[in-house]
Amino acid sequence: MPQKVINGATIDVNDEGYLTNRAQWNREIAAALAQELGITLTDAHWKVLEFIDKDFREKGVVPGMRRMNKVGDIPTKDLYALFPDGPIKKAAKISGYPKPASCV
């Protein structure tokens, strides 16, 4: 399984760079993963990342747009502004959770 070194810490990732062991995640790693995607984390980004973390612990999946909107109180337009192109998959990656997936 591939590994990655960030700020001296080794993390396990899959072929697409998503963490495979959330226990290895911390805020510095999030900031580094965000930089790789060309994103500098601000408080607005952290609001999204913290909601994903809270929601994943409750539901076992990364929340979709509607849930971010209605439950996380994060407008869709804001999501695209913060994480351009693929907001959910980018935010999931930075927060150390798997990319949104179907059964196949």
Binding site: G60, T76, Y80, K89, K99, C103, V104
Partner: protein
Amino acid sequence: MKQLLILGAGTAGTMMANHLRKKANLTEWKITVVDQYAKHYYQPGFLFMPFGLYSEADVVKPKRKFIPRGVEYLEAKVDRIDAEKNRVVLGSGQTVDYDLLIIATGARTAPDQTEGMLGNDWRKRVFDFYTFEGASALNQALYDWKGGRLVVHISEMPIKCPVAPLEFAFLADWWLTKRGLRDKTELVYVTPLPGAFTKPICSKVLGYMLEEKRINVVTDFNIGSVDNEKHRIVSWDEKEVPYDLLVTVPTNMGDGVIERSGLGDELNFVPTDPNTLQSKPHQNIFLIGDATDVPASKAGSVAHFEAEVLTKNVLHHMKGEPLEKDFDGHANCFIESGYGKAFLLDFNYVIQPVQGTYPLPGIGPFSLLKESRVNHLGKLAFKWIYWNVLLKARPMPGVGHRMSRAGKQIPAEVLQAQAAA
């Protein structure tokens, strides 16, 4: 007498009525099922209707026919569940008290959730195939089709049977080829997910199929609206996909009664323990099938496996015993790929679909993640099994509710990832 109330006589509710009729102590418990509709639809058959492979007789039977003797059946609308008072209020205003409630109210399509989806193009150029009416109307549209851009589209996740839109695209490729229209048709698959296949092994093993079948894939497309004037779908970040024919899977939501009762999440799915199937806030409420929020597929096979676990847990609850955390997210799905062939998937919460044989290790007769004629015959045979075995909760030998790892090629990294999770 104590009252066991089941809301919904679809796949899940009907199976529970049949299981509990056989296993519950009926001198102590009365079982009642409530459903507002008379017709039971074999929903997997909707996929075949647009291509003229199945008709009404294959997919519709009366619901009452599958409710066993000894179970009371009420054909009535449920206005709301009053969970604090352990009672259900029917549309007529009549109330039914319960000691134990099973919610099996399923999921439905909600095209009204997308701006413009129910506009002028609806059922003219824009169709769904997740309803009997939609699949029937699409059948006519396909027979009138002369060529152009055919767009297969998923609005948002989760949806019932997440592989169905992919199967639709594969069958459309086959059907259009057969009718000499494939070269005149641009086939496009639009998904809100990062790919048509999102699981690593499926992507690796099945990824070639889209290219081979000349299906163009548009990923990360979150629909904002349907533009009926210019016949195109527009995403939140203003990407556009034009269509001549749009075959969409609208947003799927839980039943309106869940919303009216204040029991659901933002999509009216009900918070449920993923292993015991008990309601998170209410100990005497249990859930099954598409109505739950558990991270398993919304599919009949899942409801079937859940029914076996839920039957045990309902009986435990009746006797005041602890529940078993025994549901593992097991799903088992055939994927039609056209030309009389199909794939088979068998997976659960932690093990993604892998290659191998099923149900007998090394023998099959079905092959996992591999195209075969036998798999296709299995899918066709399933209609008979559904009506005659599954709904009546008769045993299916060799098919356990826990996913078996025997006969599966599970790569080391999948097991490692599972251990780390």
